[in-house]
């Protein structure tokens, strides 16, 4: 597992929001699993990072939480996207796309000389 990459703080919030948008209300474990799976198991979600991040998002009002029951009949705390969270997701996704696009232009080989 040691060779897997930890998720950066900034991007973790975005991933959490996107996950909640895609899957609807989900508990912490589910969010972590989903992020790991989506990354093709290239990422490992550190719980020491995940839970503070969830708390931060909740404090900022982007997600809300309530206790519910899982499909395996376990009690779990479910997080879901709020309206503000949806907006924030759009905004951050846009910004991220822009950033990657710019970086991609820089890193693309040969284009400068062309």
């Amino acid at each position: 597992m040691g060779d897997k990459k930890d998720v950066w703080q900034g991007t973790l919030a975005l991933m959490v929001l996107k996950t909640l948008q895609a899957l609807g209300p989900l508990h912490g474990y589910g969010i972590a699993r989903r992020i790991e799976q989506t990354s093709g198991d290239l990422l490992a979600v550190n719980y020491g990072t995940l839970y503070p991040a969830l708390l931060k998002l909740e404090q900022e009002g982007y997600i809300s939480s309530e206790w519910g029951t899982s499909d395996t009949n376990r009690k779990a705390k479910y997080y879901k996207l709020t309206r503000a969270g949806r907006k924030q997701l759009e905004k951050e996704a846009r910004e991220w796309e822009q950033t990657t696009e710019i970086l991609a232009r820089f890193l693309a080989p040969g284009k400068e000389s062309a």
Binding site: H27, Q59, S70, A76
Partner: protein, 889 residues
């Protein structure tokens, strides 16, 4: 916005922590279970599934801590933790805590109280529009360096020639009688030019201002009321405007009421704010409207952008021009004194206030040093604890912060006490304060003062906490853990202690010297012979008003009749009247005139001036002013028409050196050769006209029947009758002559005298109180340190005594240490005082700022106190039983 919301939520995260912790635990638990479930589904054994899940989850406790930190505000939590800890520590040492709190509360309270006064007098801006542009003007020259007045004529010229003044308003006091509520009573008023309110930047609350046409001779019978007088005298009736009132038996039409916010402050010398305002209506045709008749005061507003320096230069050049154009009226060095309004009003108390404020700061510093010392003692007891915490990983910053929290908490508690102290103490302080400072009524608590107190409390906490905290956090913790450092090694921290003791002694020395100098001045002032006998001397004022007294003869007749009635009162030994009482106190009464000798022809501008008194023959025997040569006025002089005068000793010495003044003929005022001249028939002793602490001045006396005056008549009576009964009897007798006579300001001469010294006494009393407080605190400080040191060295002393040391040796050993530190403090105090006491000069009388007896006395006193504070613990040390002491280790 989001950040704010998050912050608020985090703040609320500080509360109900247990519940949130429990909730997070169950979330973690459910997370674990979900993971195990999935591992089981993947076909792992139950044990394997759990193990894998736990590994994946990582440190649960670490995650909890991270979440907890995100949830609340760690900074605040640590602070709360520190506060709780500090609170526990303080509760555990009630003795230490109460001494420290009390000491600091006294210091903080004194500072807060003084600051509230300083703020009101020196820092708050005056309640007028653009008050920094307001100035006072007064005409002086090298002979009168502190002039206060102007004449009407010269201000007209100033107006014409000045380009830097927007307005010049003139005013003078006016105290008419009013019989609105039965018996006549005195009303305080001002007569002002019509632009007075415009100059200050205020307009009436009701009605209108004075019209230009009303500021003329004979047309000025309209009145503006002050807001309090409107409430008090007219029940706040808006219809009062338009009605008429009788002032001095003349009817005035009320044209308006001034706003409540208008504070007349120091426009009257009487200390009472004016109730009525009437136009000046100056009559330039009267003989006393001359260019040199300076009986008005001027307040002016500068034009925008004009500096004080510019207006000073301009006014002085105008004064020189005028001196050139009117050489008969002005000396060649005529000048104009331009002062900012605030300085003109409060200049004389500014120095005293800063002085007292400085003194309270010193007291606070001493209190700080005391508590720092106590904290140091505490800190040393705490060393093992600190060492343990340090070994367990607490950073030095964390420990210093913890210790500082304790001292700041201490100073905040003390500040609360101090504010309460100041809250109750300030009104008390103001009650004793001299009435010459009416603005003191404006002293009240506000946010600024609270902030100030909070500020000094925080500064105090840091100042006194930092040294002990650093001393504790530093140092070898291993040694501390081993507990071996306690005894003989106090020396390392002895330096800090010694410094604190020395600085306390130094500060106490400075304060004690300052109060000693003031005390000595005060005693010397009281010993000054006022020139008359103040015992059993009684003063009352009366004023004859109304049309019937426009005739001088009627005035003299009434005055003579009053004197006759007063002499009838049983117990009254003698009585006399005067136009001006000695010791200008309550009304700043003074009456200066030119002193003209018939056979000396000199230019008017070089005529010397004397204090003029118009008296009855009974005045001298009543006052017990001694006759030095010649004779006094007699009843025959009163009836006769041959004019006579009496002069004071200084007048004789200064104006008739080597000559016999008796028989010379003089006039007081301006030379008028067609007026009769008065022959000098006697020389009497000088009286102190301007207060005991002011030098005696040249004086001259005229007879009331020959120079009738019709303004407030001052009546003196010598009697042993109880003041209250005498007041009643005199009031009755005066009004038996004319029931409309206004009788006012009865007082014992001794009261007037102490009143005239009120400010000096007030400053002296406060400074002495602070000095005594400083002395007490310093004594407690030295005693505390010495006791502690003796306790520290009990083992050592035991060994010495076991080895044969005598009591004397032990006594010497212990007290030498303390005295050395006190001695250093005394030396430093001496040097600081030598440098600092000159700021006192303006408050001193005869005594030099470097008075050797005071310095010597204080040196002895403080050395004695220091010795006492060292001796008692040292004495205790000698009673140590060597066996007990040895076992002490």
């Amino acid at each position: 916005m989001r950040k704010l919301r998050a912050g608020l939520l985090r703040l609320s995260g500080l509360f109900r922590k247990d519940k949130r912790d429990a909730e997070f635990s169950s979330e973690m638990e459910s997370h674990l279970q979900l993971h195990i479930d999935e591992n089981l589904r993947a076909g792992m054994s139950a044990l394997e599934a759990r193990r894998k899940a736990l590994i994946k989850l990582g440190g649960i406790e670490q995650t909890k801590v991270l979440v907890r930190e995100r949830r609340g505000l760690p900074m605040v939590e640590v602070l709360l933790q520190d506060l709780r800890f500090a609170g526990r520590t303080l509760r555990r040492n009630p003795g230490f805590t109460s001494v420290a709190v009390l000491t600091l509360a006294l210091g903080v309270g004194a500072n807060t109280a003084l600051f509230s006064v300083v703020k009101a007098v020196l820092l708050n801006s005056l309640p007028y529009r653009q008050p920094e542009r307001l100035i006072t003007l007064a005409r002086g020259d090298s002979q009168t360096p502190n002039p206060t007045n102007v004449s009407y004529g010269e201000t007209e010229d100033w107006k014409d020639r000045s380009r830097s003044l927007q307005q010049i308003a003139l005013y003078h006091g006016w105290t008419p009688s009013s019989s609105a509520s039965g018996a006549p009573e005195m009303v305080f008023g001002l007569r002002v030019t019509r632009n007075f309110f415009e100059t200050l930047g205020t307009s009436p609350y009701l009605g209108r201002e004075f019209l230009p046409d009303e500021d003329r001779p004979g047309r000025w019978h309209v009145v503006l009321l002050s807001y309090p007088y409107w409430i008090r005298g007219f029940g706040a009736d808006p219809n009062a405007v338009g009605q008429t009132v009788l002032l001095d038996q003349i009817s005035f039409r009320i044209i308006g009421v001034l706003p409540q916010s208008f504070e007349p402050l120091s426009f009257t010398d009487a200390g009472s704010p004016p109730d009525v305002w009437v136009p000046l209506g100056y009559d330039r045709s009267l003989p006393n409207a001359c260019r040199t008749c300076q009986h008005l005061r001027a307040v002016a507003r500068l034009k925008d952008g004009v500096s004080l320096g510019q207006v000073r230069a301009e006014m002085n050049s105008i004064a020189s021009q005028l001196a050139h154009e009117f050489p008969k009226d002005y000396p060649p060095d005529a000048a104009v004194l331009v002062l900012p309004l605030r300085e003109s009003w409060y200049g004389n108390i500014t120095a005293a206030l800063w002085l007292l404020f400085g003194a309270t700061a010193l007291v606070l510093l001493i209190a700080c040093a005391n508590v720092a010392n106590l904290l140091l003692t505490q800190a040393i007891k705490k060393r093992p604890e600190v060492a343990l915490r340090s070994a367990l990983g607490a950073s030095r910053f964390r420990i210093v912060r913890q210790l500082l929290t304790e001292s700041i908490l201490l100073s905040l508690i003390a500040a609360t006490g101090g504010v309460l102290l100041a809250f109750w103490g300030t009104p008390l302080l103001l009650k004793w304060a001299p009435a010459e400072v009416p603005v003191l009524k404006g002293v009240h608590f506000d946010l600024g003062i609270l902030l100030f107190t909070l500020g000094i409390a925080a500064a105090t906490g840091i100042l006194m906490g930092l040294v002990p905290a650093l001393a504790t956090a530093r140092g070898d913790h291993l040694e501390a853990l081993q507990q071996s450092s306690r005894a003989l090694r106090g020396a390392s921290r002895g330096w800090t202690r010694g410094f604190l003791v020395s600085s306390q002694v130094c500060l106490a020395f400075v304060l004690t010297v300052a109060s000693g100098l003031l005390l000595k001045s005060f005693v010397l002032v009281w010993r000054v012979n006022p020139g008359f006998n103040v015992q059993n001397l009684y003063e009352v004022n009366f004023s004859l008003s109304g049309p019937k007294y426009e005739n001088d003869k009627a005035v003299v007749r009434a005055q003579t009749e009053v004197l006759g009635h007063i002499r009838q009162i049983p117990g009254v030994e003698s009585a006399g009247l005067t136009s001006t009482p000695p010791i200008a106190g309550r009304f700043g009464s003074l009456d200066q005139s030119g002193f003209i000798v018939q056979d000396r022809r000199i230019p008017d501008s070089q005529v010397p001036s004397v204090d003029r008194y118009i008296v009855s023959p009974g005045y001298f025997p009543t006052m017990e002013i001694p006759l030095l040569r010649g004779r006094l006025f007699t009843e025959a002089d009163v009836a006769g028409s041959y004019q006579v005068a009496i002069i004071g000793e200084m007048t004789a010495r200064q104006f008739f050196p080597g000559e016999n003044p008796l028989g010379k003929r003089i006039q007081l005022g301006a030379r008028e050769d067609d007026r009769p001249w008065a022959e000098i028939i006697g020389i009497v002793g000088d009286v102190h006209q301007y207060g005991l602490d002011a030098p005696a001045t040249p004086q001259a006396y005229l007879l009331y029947s020959q120079f009738p005056f019709n303004y407030a008549t001052v009546l003196f009576a010598r009697s042993t009758v109880a003041p209250a009964a005498l007041t009643r009897a005199m009031d009755e007798q005066i009004r038996a002559v004319d029931k409309d006579t206004l009788v006012f300001n009865p007082a014992l001469m001794t009261e007037i005298l102490s009143h005239s010294l009120a400010q000096r006494g007030f400053t002296m009393a406060l400074l002495s109180a602070f000095g005594a407080l400083a002395l007490l605190l310093a004594a407690v400080g030295i005693y505390g340190v010495m006791s502690y040191m003796v306790a520290q060295r009990t083992g050592e002393i035991g060994i010495r005594m076991a080895l044969g040391a005598q009591r004397r040796d032990v006594l010497e050993l212990v007290s030498r240490d303390g005295m050395l530190r006190a001695g250093l403090g005394l030396l430093a105090g001496l040097l600081v005082s030598l440098a600092l006491t000159r700021v006192l000069t303006s408050q001193l009388f005869i005594v030099s700022a470097l008075d050797p007896t005071t310095f010597g006395g204080v040196l002895l006193l403080l050395a004695g106190v220091a010795f006492g504070a060292c001796y008692i613990p040292a004495q205790r040390a000698t009673r140590v039983d060597p066996m007990v002491a040895l076992r002490y280790e």
